[in-house]
Structure formats: structure tokens, C-alpha cells
Symmetry: D2
């Protein structure tokens, strides 16, 4: 994913519309949370098995909401100079320590990564 190009476009888009004044981190995380709920709304009355084959229309909707979330997420990262890729890898390392693999006897497995 070309993060630099995306960031550049997001920056330009907001600057051209003079929206930067609204885009303080507090407002951005609110907007991010609102977008996450719009994604949630698509699924709220569906049964789990109905989500496997979404209609073309619903899938397009999902794609748009996913993009909206990503855009605000990247905007938050830009506000705090967070390297998203790095943040993801660090969090996944932390998750592996938090949820260690165990064998059937409950002993931790020394999992060797490729």
C-alpha cells in the first residue's frame, strides 16, 4: 500500500477545502468512530451466515465504509506522526505475548516464526 501517496492526497483534499481547522485529533477520532458504526449498521440485523454472501450493493457499501475508516485512521496517524505499519507490527508482537500458544497440556509452545 502506497501510504505516502495516500497521505499526500488526504492532506491536499483537506487543505483545499480549508477543513484542517476542524480536523483536530479529538474530532478525527469521533469521525472515525462514527464511520465504524456506519460499517456496523450494515451488519446489525444480519445473521452471521447471511454475511458470507453479501449482495453487490451491500458489498459496495462495505467497501466505502472501510475506506472512510481507513482515511480517518491515517489522518489520526498523520496528526501524531505514527508510522501505521510499524504500529501494527509492534501490536501484533505484543498480542503474541499476551495470547501465547499452548499445547494440549496447556504448556506454552515456543513458536518459531519463519
Amino acid at each position: 500500500m502506497n501510504m505516502e501517496k495516500i497521505q499526500q492526497q488526504i492532506k491536499e483534499f483537506s487543505k483545499q477545502r480549508d477543513w484542517d481547522k476542524h480536523h483536530n485529533p479529538k474530532n478525527l477520532v469521533m469521525a472515525l468512530s462514527v464511520e465504524a458504526s456506519e460499517l456496523l449498521e450494515i451488519f446489525q440485523w444480519l445473521e452471521s451466515n447471511q454475511t458470507l454472501n453479501l449482495s453487490e450493493e451491500k458489498l459496495t457499501h462495505v467497501k466505502e465504509e472501510v475506506a472512510d475508516i481507513a482515511i480517518y485512521l491515517i489522518r489520526v496517524c498523520m496528526a501524531y506522526n505514527i508510522d501505521l505499519e510499524n504500529a501494527i507490527f509492534e501490536k501484533m508482537k505484543k498480542n503474541e505475548l499476551k495470547y501465547p500458544l499452548v499445547d494440549k497440556e496447556g504448556n506454552k509452545i515456543n513458536y518459531k516464526k519463519n
Copy 2:
């Protein structure tokens, strides 16, 4: 951002813990929304100007929540074979049509992209 490597790690992590059975799209978007609120929670009592200089501790917290959101977002994309980069660029194109640039007289500006 090396999306392929991230997807690979997410996949492996979930498979090794036998979590795939819980990770249907409906549950994933719920989890995504919950993580977005955990990010929101950090900011809920802060004034806008207090968000400019977060403490080291809060910044680490923000970084972790941002990563959690990204991980579930990528997981949703994997469930529906959504190319996140492509979805972002398409959404931004749509946003440019939805919010056209206007000059001081309110006329649309034909904005030429570099």
C-alpha cells in the same frame, strides 16, 4: 506499507489460536467498532488544545488502539477480498465529486491533479 506481510501474520495468528470460528464479518465489525471507541475514550475529556501535546503514555496508548483498529479493518477486508488501497483511492475520488472545490463566487474549480 507491506500489506501482504501484515495479512499473512494476521491470518497465522488467528489460525494458530483457532479463532477463525469467531471471526465472522459481523463479529469483526463489532470488534472494530469497540476498538474505535477505545481510541475515542482517550480523548473524551480532553479539550481540543490538550490533544496537541499528548503525554508519552497517552501517545503509546493511541498508537496501540490505532493498530488494533487497523488489524480488524484489514481482517474485514480479507473476509471480502477488498483491496484496501484501491478502496481508499476510489472513495477519495468520490469525495472529490461530492465536495467539489469552489472559488469565492461559488463556481466549481476545475482542479487539475498533478
Copy 3:
């Protein structure tokens, strides 16, 4: 439900702790949304059928989150002098117009309320 007594207690609690300065409507609706997600979190990995018989511990947790949501909701109403009971009845009247009852042939039923 003795709304007056609840409002009185909420008011006093916040005033005694000098929290009113943080409790502007924007912050209150953020807090409300965060509490709603904490309720959501209890259910995120449960299957629908698992939610019918919650453990005593989970039920206590649900009860607490429900109360937190109600408290912030009432606080928002207090900020705007909204009569919650009245708002509920008006919304339900609107919902009845929005989702009219239809018979098997798809004709609207003139539903007479008791």
C-alpha cells in the same frame, strides 16, 4: 421511574466533584457512545444463542453498562431540557408512521390503539 430523583442525584454528584466543566454536550455524547461500546464488547464474541443465558458475572456487567448509558443519556437530556419520556413517545409515534402495519396483501392496516 423517578426521573426527578435521578436527575437530582446526577446533578449533585457532578457538582460536588467539579466535573460540570467537562460535561459539555459534546463530551457527554462521546462518553455515552463509549459506554455503549463497553456494553457491545460484552457481546462481541458471543453467538446469539449464548446471549440467552448469561453468567451471573456477565449479567452484573451488563446491568452496570446499561446504567452508565442511562446516566449519560439523562445528562444529555438535562443539558437540552429534553423530556425523555415525551421524546420516547413522540419517536414511537413517528416509527409507527415510518413502518406501517400491512396485511398479507400488503395493504396498510388501520391499527387502533387501546
Copy 4:
């Protein structure tokens, strides 16, 4: 607030439309969270001071979203036989223990309730 009458109307409304099958607790808390975000959305780009004098249109919108949240909240309570009033008073008692009143020297104040 006449909770019994509200519960009765909610029950009837859902039954007449055969919606009970969708209204399992998991779906209800999702819907509640989505409504909370719709309330949040009204405030996302407003500055704190702009929220003090909402337009008539925005105030009506706030009132409707507040009602939607209350309706789903009451529906969740009905699903688990939670007495909302009781839950609120218990939670406020707990909050008073969690956030004790202190004087200027930091000593706890034995706060006597009327």
C-alpha cells in the same frame, strides 16, 4: 417516567411487525451502539461552545436520537429483566465509592446524603 407504558408499547410495536426474531440481545446492543453514534455524528464537527445553542433543527434531531437510544436501552433491559431505575441507583452508589469526595488536603469527606 411511566416505564410500564413504554415497555408495553415497545413490545407491541415489535410483535406486530414480527421483529422479535431479529431482536436478540446481541443485535439490540449493536443497534444501541449505532444510535449512540448517530447522536455523536451531530456533534462531531462542532466546537464545544457551538453546542450551547443548537438550531431548532439540530435540537429536534438530538431529541430523536436520544429517544432511539432510550428505546433500545429499555429493550435490552426487557431482555434481561433489568429494572433500569434500580440499576441506575446502584451504579451511582458504586460511583460514589469509586470517586470519593476529598477536601483540599485530600482527605475523604464523609458526605451525608439528604
